[in-house]
C-alpha cells in the first residue's frame, strides 16, 4: 500500500459491472467430463481390451465415495497389498497436491459431477434469473450440511464392516459413470436425478451439502498456499462477492477465505469491482497476473496428473491391460500378460502369429484337439495334465526369445 492512496482509489473507482475474464476452466471441465464419463461409458459398453477404451485413463479416485473409501482402507490396513493396476490412490495424491497448492480447485475445475451441476445451474439461472440459488434458511442449511459429515463417517464404518450398508446404493458419482450398465442401483440413479434436479434451483447442491470428499478437500484447503484474500483497505464492502458466492459465504467480512464450502471458483474475485481488493494470491505476494490466472486451470490439471504420470514412468502404476514384460512373437508386440488363462488355443495361436497346427505341435497336442479349449482347461484333461498355464507361458517365452 506504500505507493497506493486508498482514499483516492475509493473515490475515483468506477463501479462498472465487470465482465468475467476469459478462463480456460470450462475447457478443462469439459475435458474431464469427456475423460471420466466418456471413458467409463466406453469401458462399460465396449468389449474388454477395446482400443478406444484404452485411450481414456481410468481415474478411479474421482469418485468421492471411492476416494474416502481408499483413505479408510489405508488407515485400516497399512500392510494391505499392492495393486498397481489401480489408479485411485495416485489420483488421490494428485488431489491432495493441487489442494495444498491451489485450494479446493478439484471441486471447481476437475470434478465431473460438480461440472454437470454447474452446467445445469446455468440452465437454472436462465429459468429463475434472480430467483436462482436463493439463500437457504440457516437452520436448514446446517441440517443439510451435516449430511456430508454423516456420509463421511458412514463410509469408513461400512469399509471396516461395522455397518452393513452398500454405500453405492446412494452414490450419484457411481451412477453417473456407470449409467449404461445394469449394475447401478435404482436408488443411486434416483439420488443422481434428485441432485441434478435440485441443481436447477440451487447451485452445486451435492458439493454444498452432501459430498464427503468435499469435507476432506475443504479441510486440506485451509492450509493451501494460494487463497482468495481480501484487502481490507481497498474493499468498499459493496457485497457483490457475497451475492455471487454459490455457497453464500460472507466474503466481504473475511480477510482470507478458509471456509470448507469454498471451491475456489473465483467468481467473487471476478465480480469484485475494485482492482486488488479481492485477489487469488500467496500470502504477502502480489496477485497472479492475468496470464497466470488464464492458464491456472491447465496448471492445476498438469499438477494433478503429475503423480499418476510419475507412477506410470516408475512402473508403480500399470493401466488396465498394460504390462511391463514385453516380448516379441513373429515381429508382433506380445506381452506375457497376454497369455491369459482364459485365452483359447486358437486365440493364442492368433496372438503368436502362427497356425493352430504349429501351436499344437509345440505343445504336444493332437491335431484334432478342440481349438476353442481355454488354456486353463487343458490341464483338466487327464491325458494333458502337464500342459498347465505355466507350461504354456514357458513355451511361448522360450519360442519368442529364440
Amino acid at each position: 500500500m506504500d505507493a497506493f492512496d486508498t482514499t483516492k482509489t475509493r473515490k475515483t473507482i468506477k463501479l462498472k459491472k465487470k465482465k468475467s475474464p476469459f478462463s480456460i476452466r470450462w475447457i478443462i471441465q469439459l475435458a474431464m467430463v469427456v475423460i471420466i464419463i466418456g471413458g467409463a461409458s466406453l469401458r462399460n459398453l465396449m468389449p474388454g481390451g477395446s482400443f478406444l477404451a484404452t485411450l481414456f485413463p481410468e481415474l478411479q479416485g474421482f469418485c468421492p465415495f471411492g476416494a474416502v473409501r481408499s483413505i479408510t482402507t489405508v488407515f485400516a490396513d497399512f500392510s494391505s497389498l499392492a495393486n498397481s493396476s489401480h489408479s485411485n490412490l495416485w489420483v488421490l495424491l494428485g488431489v491432495v497436491l493441487i489442494t495444498v497448492l491451489f485450494g479446493a480447485v478439484f471441486c471447481s475445475t476437475l470434478c465431473p459431477l460438480g461440472t454437470i451441476q454447474e452446467w445445469i445451474g446455468k440452465l437454472g439461472w436462465r429459468i429463475f434469473r434472480k430467483r436462482y440459488n436463493p439463500p437457504v434458511p440457516e437452520k436448514l442449511d446446517r441440517i443439510l450440511s451435516s449430511i456430508r459429515y454423516i456420509i463421511l463417517l458412514g463410509i469408513p464404518l461400512a469399509v471396516i464392516g461395522l455397518i452393513a450398508f452398500d454405500i453405492d446404493l446412494i452414490n450419484p458419482s457411481y451412477a453417473l459413470t456407470h449409467l449404461w450398465t445394469t449394475a447401478v442401483p435404482v436408488s443411486a440413479l434416483l439420488v443422481l436425478a434428485l441432485i441434478l434436479l435440485i441443481s436447477l434451483r440451487y447451485e452445486r447442491p451435492w458439493c454444498r451439502w452432501f459430498c464427503p470428499y468435499g469435507v476432506i478437500i475443504g479441510t486440506i484447503s485451509r492450509f493451501s498456499f494460494w487463497k482468495i484474500r481480501r484487502n481490507e483497505e481497498l474493499c468498499i464492502h459493496c457485497g457483490r462477492c457475497d451475492r455471487d458466492c454459490h455457497a453464500h459465504l460472507i466474503v466481504s467480512k473475511t480477510p482470507e477465505i478458509t471456509d470448507c464450502h469454498c471451491i475456489t471458483c473465483q467468481k467473487c474475485v471476478n465480480t469484485c469491482p475494485v482492482p486488488g481488493a479481492l485477489t487469488y494470491s500467496l500470502k504477502g505476494k502480489p496477485p497472479l497476473s492475468r496470464f497466470w490466472l488464464l492458464v491456472l486451470p491447465l496448471i492445476v490439471l498438469v499438477v494433478f496428473l503429475l503423480p499418476l504420470g510419475l507412477a506410470r514412468i516408475a512402473g508403480l502404476y500399470q493401466p488396465a491391460g498394460a504390462s511391463s514384460i514385453a516380448v516379441v512373437a513373429n515381429g508382433q508386440p506380445f506381452t506375457a500378460q497376454d497369455i491369459s488363462p482364459m485365452l483359447s488355443l486358437e486365440a493364442l495361436a492368433g496372438k503368436m502369429g502362427i497356425g493352430t497346427a504349429q501351436l499344437y505341435a509345440r505343445l504336444g497336442l493332437p491335431e484334432n484337439y478342440d481349438s476353442a479349449t481355454l488354456l486353463i482347461d487343458i490341464e483338466e484333461d487327464p491325458d494333458f495334465s502337464h500342459i498347465t498355464l505355466g507350461f504354456i507361458r514357458e513355451m511361448v517365452v522360450a519360442q519368442t526369445s529364440l
Binding site: S70, F78, S80, L81, N83, G161, D166, A183, G390
Partner: protein
Amino acid sequence: MKRIIMIGVFLLIAMAAAWTCELTYTITNPLGKTTSVAPGKPIYLEPNASYSLAISFYEDHRNCPVAPSATLFLLDGARWNPARDTQPLLLSAPITWKETNSRLNETVATFTTREPGTYTLEILRECPTKAGYSAQLIFVVLPPQP
C-alpha cells in the same frame, strides 16, 4: 516450514495409499500365529507343516461380473487343486468362498508344505470388461532344521 511438513505428511499418507488393494491375505502357521502376506514378498514356511491362508476379497465397485468362485489360483502355473497330489503345497480341500456381507467375500485355503523350494501362487480374476486382478504370492519352504 510448518507448511512443508504438512505437505510432506499429506504426500506420505497419499503415497502409502498406493500399496492397497481389494484382496488381502493372511497366513496362520501351525502354532496359530497369523501374519499378513504381501504379493511379491516371500513368505517363509516350515516343511511338512500345515498352514491356513485366509483371503478376503472386497468388491470395490462391482465392475467385474465374475463371481469370487471364478477366481483362479495357480500354483507354479497349474491350478491349485487338492486332486493334484504332486503339488509342492498340497491343498487339503477345494477353495470355497463365503459371502460375509454384500461386498466382502472370504475364504480359507488350508495346505501342507512338502519339499523345500520357492513356489509362486498366482491369483487371477479375469473380467470381460475390466483388467481384473492379478497377484503373486511367493512361498519359500525352508529346508528342515538339523
